[in-house]
């Protein structure tokens, strides 16, 4: 039986479909509501003839998430769904979620068994909470929900448009990139840097990757080894000269080049990790443009050792 994704891809390959007509939209909505009726009966185990409207809405959102559809969309790619057995498509979608869940749990297990030499309370608590997600996630009825607490802030947040296991897995992918980066440095280098960044780096909700990435890129730009992560005042002066007369776009390009150099130095081969580093580094551009004109870059490229 063909899956949802295959239907949508196949439709796309056939060319751009005109939007659904109002009658076709109504038919699709009726198919969805019929599926919702069946899901609700399963959800209540046949013991309740009615549910709160909020419950029905959650169940419908789960169906749409699992089937990758927006119930109010008139996209022509949904035409292929008309007349399909939605129950079978839902079952296929649930199988896909099961695989994603397994993939995510494997990634989480790898993360918690290979933590960076420095962590903080928020990171540990978040990983612990995500550890409960695998057992609490209801992929059958509430697949769009995220039954865990994610407090640790990433350098590059996950888009809020992602839901359910997709959100958690993307979060873990980003976290894995950050963790892998931090693992390339010794604790003796990371701790002084993080203390310079935030004295209570363990207790407060800060991201550990950002200050390490910033300093490492700064050192890479000057052809220095990033190993100790420390940027002495005179070294920072060289960076200030480098950025002194650059436009914001030029700063961004310089930072991107620095990210590439650093990735090469550290043998970071994953395209996703390299892109993550580049994006994170380029995000410094507006701060550098502002800071260089107002007291210098000591808040961006940190001196870890006094």
């Amino acid at each position: 039986m063909i899956s949802m994704d295959e239907i949508i891809v196949k439709t796309g390959q056939q060319g751009i479909e005109p939007p659904l007509s109002p009658e076709e939209q109504l038919l699709l909505q009726q198919q969805l509501l019929s599926l919702l009726a069946r899901q609700t009966a399963h959800y209540t185990a046949g013991e309740s003839s009615s549910v709160p409207v909020e419950t029905a809405e959650r169940l419908l959102r789960s169906i749409c998430f699992t089937l990758h559809i927006h119930p109010e969309s008139d996209s022509g790619e949904y035409r292929a769904l008309l007349g399909q057995d939605m129950g079978v498509l839902l079952a296929r979608g649930i199988e896909q979620l099961q695989q994603k869940l397994a993939d995510g749990q494997a990634l989480w297990t790898a993360l918690v068994t290979h933590l960076p030499p420095v962590t903080n309370i928020a990171l540990r608590d978040t990983l612990q909470s995500i550890g409960t997600f695998w057992g609490r996630y209801d992929l059958r009825f509430l697949a769009q929900e995220i039954p865990c607490d994610i407090d640790y802030q990433l350098a590059r947040p996950v888009p809020e448009t992602l839901q359910g296991v997709d959100y958690v897995n993307r979060y873990l992918q980003h976290l894995a990139i950050e963790s892998d980066f931090l693992c390339r440095f010794r604790k003796e280098a990371l701790v002084p840097l993080l203390r310079a960044y935030c004295p209570d780096y363990n207790g407060l909700l800060i991201n550990l990757y950002e200050p390490a990435a910033a300093n490492a890129v700064g050192l890479a730009l000057l052809g220095e080894s990033p190993e100790m992560l420390d940027i002495a005042p005179e070294v920072r002066g060289e960076l200030e000269e480098l950025f002194a007369h650059q436009t914001k776009q030029e700063i961004r390009e310089t930072l991107a080049a620095g990210a590439r150099q650093l990735a090469d130095m550290l043998a970071i081969q994953s395209p996703m990790a390299r892109e993550y580093l580049r994006g994170c580094t380029e995000d410094l551009a507006p701060r550098i443009a502002t800071a260089r004109d107002h007291g210098g870059l000591s808040g961006i490229f940190l001196s870890a050792r006094k």
Binding site: S34, T40, S48, S50, V51
Partner: protein, 161 residues
Amino acid sequence: MNEMQLFSQPMQIIQTKMELTQCNRMTERYGLTLSDQQMEQIALRRIDALQATGRVEFGESVIRKLIYAFCDSPYIRQAEYADTLAELLDLFHYFKGECMEQLTDDELIEGMRLVFDEAASGSLSFLANLDREIMEEVAQTGSLEGTPLEDGEIDWGDIDG
């Protein structure tokens, strides 16, 4: 019945009336029947009750179960049958929400019947004013024992029967 037919009000009314017609065949042995107009009113009352309590009903309505559970109550008479049924429908959906979805349909209906017959002597006001914790306990245990209803501890004087 195809679930899709439920999702327009006219179709919901038709479906409810069909269910009530079928129920009439069973309840007439107890001297209880609904006229066509009364069926229409109850069908509309069903929609109102669901909207008022923020609920949605898929598939068959709970009306059939309510009728089957209450039709042999000594306190239901033909003269008030339609009004009583409508009120029971309101109360069912009210308690379903108030008890935080903790009761199955069958538990709640049996609990309501128990209170209606053995504590309230057929008073719908009594049922309507019943504390939801007491209703929950009665419904879950299937008994008035251990509740304030057991020995008539609730002051009848406060209830406008």
